[in-house]
């Protein structure tokens, strides 16, 4: 304590005085020693030199003594930082390239990581979110089947695995009585739902068990945003009444935030039970999904088995068509992100590769610089720097560079993040919540330190013993670029300074691995680009241009009876056909690329009946007779629907080519005339005749293989929801107001679900692919640039180290072309080694890309050839400048310099 105190006092009180004192003391010491020597007859100068030799390294001793005064670690750090900054400023070009390279690598990695963190890693904002489970029904063939109300009630009552369970389902209701009729999205939920997601009321109360009782007044809880934006944030809203689909609901509260579990934002929450209590049919599906919270210690598999047990018991006591159904259970977080996960993981790997390339590049640059610093290091050693000292100082300098790069990288990441969240596909959960928050900054800091250490340690790796004399001599004799290279066997810098074959081969290895990683990225982005092009240019099976898609959902309160709904659509279609500029109008249930819209079990009548658990499933669509003509969908065989295919007439269907190929492969017209039966496992639906085979139209998106599909004319089954396709002679956009007007003329209180050109919604289905492809291509471009810089740097160094031998060759009559070929050959050798490695790695990794590739093989040879060509092209381009420099070298001047 006492020593510490006196140390502090001395530190604060004039260290300069102490330093001067010490210097004077050492001078006196030397004087005394010299005086003694001259007493025995030496000349004063010789005596002085002898004393100095005996004394040792004055600077070093002074420094060691000084360390005893203060806080040596802190002191040394300050000094190293100062020296580091000086070193960085001394080579501004080098420092700029290093900082920029690191900033790009760290920035891109940080930006992508922040998205991965927000979307995949951060815990969901619900209480005990890690125990929340998404529950559905499933069959051996199909997943994603909604849970029936009866099954839910039994699950909830009879399970032993869940602390709480709740059902939820989105509904479309029309809000009237508050200005324009508004199509709103209701979250119909059981009371446990709001508890499970930890919702808090911003005002009033939330839904509870009371609201589910029979006879309870209809209650609604508003979503915060809906309350603010559509109801003006009226503070007196609690207690007011909303008319939804003609039924009054009392607002009992306002929710603090949207839990975000529904596909689209929810406007308000209603109790689900009143919509369902009349149902006793165990196979009656709505679109309800179930959320459960596992009891502590219960595994997912145990919970699944528990729910299956309930379903099997129900199948015994209440047999029905769905006895084969079992429970689907998945943890909530991975379930919500299952679609974007592969894209994000590929992007994260890609950006990691970019960072590796950047690090290799910087390491190579630092190696190159350290060979030019042999002399500087030799001087430092000569005037008293210890080896550990130099290591520390160089590490500090490299860490400082890395820190500057990392800080710039975080700035870049901020900017990149705006871009990512701005153009990311809207359906990615929590993308908008992406922030550069503390975990992300911690990650960036860790990356920065790691790259700094790696880069700082690379030059130390091969460091040998310093031969002071030859390093100083070589350094003074040779051009700086060649100091290490030609310095002879011993001229390897103590620290950081390595020259000769060792450094060059290490740098070559770094550049070769850069090229290999770049090829992997180029190949992957090539695959994705070709997939995107395929998805955009493959014939979608219909003419998407010049079509307006008008999506309507008729509220059941006024359109409950099928003839009323049918009448409405008939009149609407006639009105729209009369609009100038409209050439055809037809309605359909599921437009192209609508996603998971409607499907059904079926059986082919002249085939043996499948076992109950193995019934095939097909997409089922309903369309106007003229739909195929309006959309330009080709009819391959048989006939289209006609006006005669109406209710009461024999059931006819048109199947798509995939369906026909599945059952009658090789027979061109085999499908026409055959019979199929629709319906659940009991096949209680109508028996229909296949009258035609239509061209394939992908149901799930432009980048998905088509599923087998059965199309029916609208007549046999009515649906209140339809998409009316309006084909126009010219640009469809200007017709939007006229179409809107026609709808309002027929039903003033009908809200339009959506109205926009079909091409737009089709393009939106490619948003995720476009997002991933664009980013990966960007990263590949970045990688190519970095690899190009790497090749350029290495070859420039290679050429400057061989100026003499080039000069001699030219002097002896070697043609310029030979020199160009010599340097070019080096570049080609690097590129060939790198691409061979990269090709092997890509081949091994191509399995990963399988889920993201469409319309091209994940091991496409032509894509590989293009990637290889691009990478080799970059390498040659990068070699051009040093090669020309070599070829233009003036041998006379260079050799004369050698002689000096």
């Amino acid at each position: 304590m006492r020593a510490w105190w006196s140390r502090l006092c001395r530190t604060l009180a004039g260290r300069q005085a102490l330093a001067d004192d010490l210097a004077a003391e050492i001078e006196a010491h030397l004087d005394l020693a010299a005086a003694e020597s001259s007493d025995v007859g030496m000349s004063p100068a010789a005596a002085r030199d002898a004393a100095r030799r005996r004394f040792g390294n004055v600077t070093l001793i002074r420094e060691r003594a000084r360390e005893a005064w203060g806080f040596p670690a802190l002191d040394a750090l300050g000094r190293d930082l100062r020296l580091g900054l000086r070193g960085i400023r001394a080579a501004p070009g080098f420092s700029c390239v290093v900082i920029l390279t690191l900033a790009l690598g760290i920035g891109a990695t940080t930006a992508i990581f922040s998205v991965v963190h927000a979307v995949l890693l951060a815990p969901l904002p619900y209480p005990d979110a890690e125990r929340l489970v998404w529950l559905e029904e499933a069959t051996p063939q199909a997943e994603g089947i909604s849970v029936t109300w009866v099954n839910y009630l039994h699950w909830r009552r009879e399970n032993h695995s869940f602390a709480e369970m709740a059902g939820f389902e989105a509904m479309h209701l029309t809000l009237t009585g508050r200005g324009e009729p508004l199509l709103t999205r209701a979250g119909a939920v059981t009371s446990g739902f709001l508890r499970l997601v930890g919702m808090r009321p911003a005002g009033g109360r939330l839904l509870d068990d009371r609201d589910e009782q029979a006879g309870a007044p209809a209650a609604a809880v508003l979503g915060h945003r809906f309350w603010l934006e559509k109801l003006g944030g009226d503070p007196a809203i609690v207690g007011a009444t909303l008319v939804l689909d003609g039924k009054p609901y009392q607002v009992v509260g306002v929710a603090a935030r949207d839990p975000g579990l529904f596909r689209k934002p929810i406007d308000y929450y209603l109790p689900l039970a009143p919509f369902r209590t009349a149902t006793l049919d165990r196979a009656r599906h709505g679109s309800m999904r179930v959320l459960g919270r596992l009891r502590p210690g219960v595994t997912l598999a145990a919970a699944r088995a528990d729910l299956d047990l309930v379903l099997r018991r129900l199948a015994r006591i209440d047999p029905g068509p769905e006895d084969q159904h079992h429970a689907f259970a998945a943890f909530l977080a991975p379930h919500l992100t299952r679609e974007i996960r592969p894209t994000l993981l590929v992007l994260m790997s890609a950006v990691g590769l970019v960072l590796l390339i950047a690090t290799a590049n910087v390491a190579s640059l630092v190696l190159a610089r350290s060979t030019t610093r042999v002399k500087e290091m030799a001087v430092r050693t000569a005037i008293g720097a210890g080896r550990a000292h130099l290591v520390r100082q160089l590490l500090t300098e490299n860490l400082l560079l890395a820190a500057l790069g990392g800080a710039s990288g975080v700035l870049l990441a901020r900017w990149g993040l705006l871009f990512l969240t701005g153009m990311g596909p809207a359906e990615v959960p929590r993308l908008a919540e992406t922030r550069l928050d503390s975990p992300v900054l911690l990650f960036a800091g860790a990356l920065t330190s790691l790259t700094g250490l790696l880069v700082g340690l690379v030059p130390l790796w091969t460091s040998g013993k310093l031969d002071l004399v030859s390093a100083l001599k070589d350094g003074s004799r040779l051009s700086p670029g060649a100091a290490g290279g030609v310095g002879g066997a011993g001229a390897i810098g103590a620290i950081g300074a390595i020259g000769g074959r060792c450094g060059t081969s290490l740098r070559s290895a770094l550049v070769v691995s850069e090229i290999a990683l770049t090829l992997v990225l180029a190949f992957a982005s090539g695959l994705l680009l070709r997939s995107l092009i395929a998805a955009q240019t493959l014939d979608p099976g219909f003419r998407a241009q010049r079509v307006l898609a008008l999506e309507l959902v008729l509220p059941p309160s006024r359109y409950a009876s099928p003839p009323v709904a049918r009448g409405f659509y008939q009149r609407l279609e006639e009105d729209l056909r009369a609009l100038p500029g409209v050439t055809a109008v037809s309605a359909v249930l599921c437009p192209p690329a609508a996603g998971d819209c409607n499907d059904s079990f079926y059986a082919v009548l002249d085939r043996p009946a499948p076992a109950p658990g193995e019934l095939p499933v097909a997409a089922v669509n309903f369309a106007d007779p003229s739909y195929f003509g309006t959309m330009g969908i080709a009819l391959r065989r048989g006939r289209a629907f006609t006006a005669a295919d109406r209710a009461g007439a024999p059931c006819v269907v048109i199947v798509n080519e995939t369906f026909a190929r599945k059952w009658w492969p090789g027979e061109g017209g085999g499908a026409v005339g055959r019979g199929i039966q629709l319906g659940g496992p009991a096949l209680d639906g109508p028996r229909c005749e296949i009258v035609g085979v239509a061209g394939d139209v992908s149901q799930l998106g432009l980048d998905a293989e088509p599923l087998p599909e059965i199309d029916l004319p609208f007549a046999p089954s009515e649906s209140a929801a339809r998409v009316v396709m309006v084909r126009t002679a010219g640009d469809p956009e200007p017709l939007v107001p006229a179409v809107r007007h026609r709808v309002a003329m027929l039903d003033r209180s009908l809200a339009i679900e959506s109205l926009r050109p079909l091409a737009q919604s089709l393009a939106a289905t490619l948003a995720r692919r476009r997002f991933g492809t664009l980013l990966l291509t960007l990263f590949a471009g970045l990688a190519m640039t970095l690899a190009g810089v790497g090749v350029y740097g290495l070859l420039s160094y290679w050429v400057s180290a061989r100026e003499e031998s080039i000069a001699i060759r030219v002097a002896l009559g070697a043609p310029r072309g030979a020199i160009l070929r010599w340097v070019g050959g080096q570049a080609l050798a690097l590129a060939a080694a790198g691409t061979a490695l990269g090709a092997a790695a890509s081949w091994a990794a191509s399995r990963w890309a399988e889920s993201l590739v469409f319309g091209v093989s994940p091991r496409s040879l032509s894509t590989m050839a293009m990637a290889v060509a691009a990478v080799i092209g970059i390498a040659i381009l990068a070699a051009l400048v040093p090669a020309r420099r070599a070829a233009r070298l003036n041998p006379v001047q260079r050799l004369r310099r050698l002689g000096q």
């Binding site: 006492r2 020593a3 006196s6 140390r7 001395r10 004192d21 010490l22 004077a24 003391e25 050492i26 006196a28 010491h29 004087d31 005394l32 020693a33 005086a35 004394f55 040792g56 390294n57 070093l60 001793i61 002074r62 060691r64 003594a65 000084r66 360390e67 005893a68 005064w69």
Partner: protein
């Protein structure tokens, strides 16, 4: 033991011993750094080589602990030098360290003494 001590090789200081020896060299009279070196080499019959790289930091440490104090003075042959002297605290430390060192040497001797 296969290694035989090389009598021409001079002895290195064990950790902490240099401080004790400095204190001992100042027991009779104040001295400067060069003088301390001379004293130690002479007293040890040139067995010890005093490295300035260790001596100066050791002096600084002793100053900080308050065991010695320093003062610029003129030497008998009319040269200015920085003289170090023992403080009372340093004197007590020397006594303690000396007795501890004796015990250590005796113990070492007993352990290393040839058996029988």
């Amino acid at each position: 033991m296969t290694t035989v001590d090389e009598p021409l090789e001079r002895l290195q200081f064990l950790d902490g011993t240099l401080e004790v020896l400095i204190l001992r060299s100042l027991q009779l009279a104040p001295n400067h750094a060069y003088g301390i070196t001379q004293f130690l080499e002479r007293q040890s019959a040139n067995e010890f080589v005093v490295d300035n790289g260790s001596l100066y930091p050791a002096l600084q440490r002793l100053l900080q602990r308050g065991w010695i104090s320093s003062q610029w003075k003129t030497s008998p042959n009319a040269r200015r030098a920085k003289y170090y002297r023992l403080t009372p605290l340093g004197r007590r430390q020397l006594v303690a360290a000396t007795s501890k060192w004796r015990r250590f040497v005796a113990a070492m001797g007993r352990v290393l003494a040839p058996e029988g």
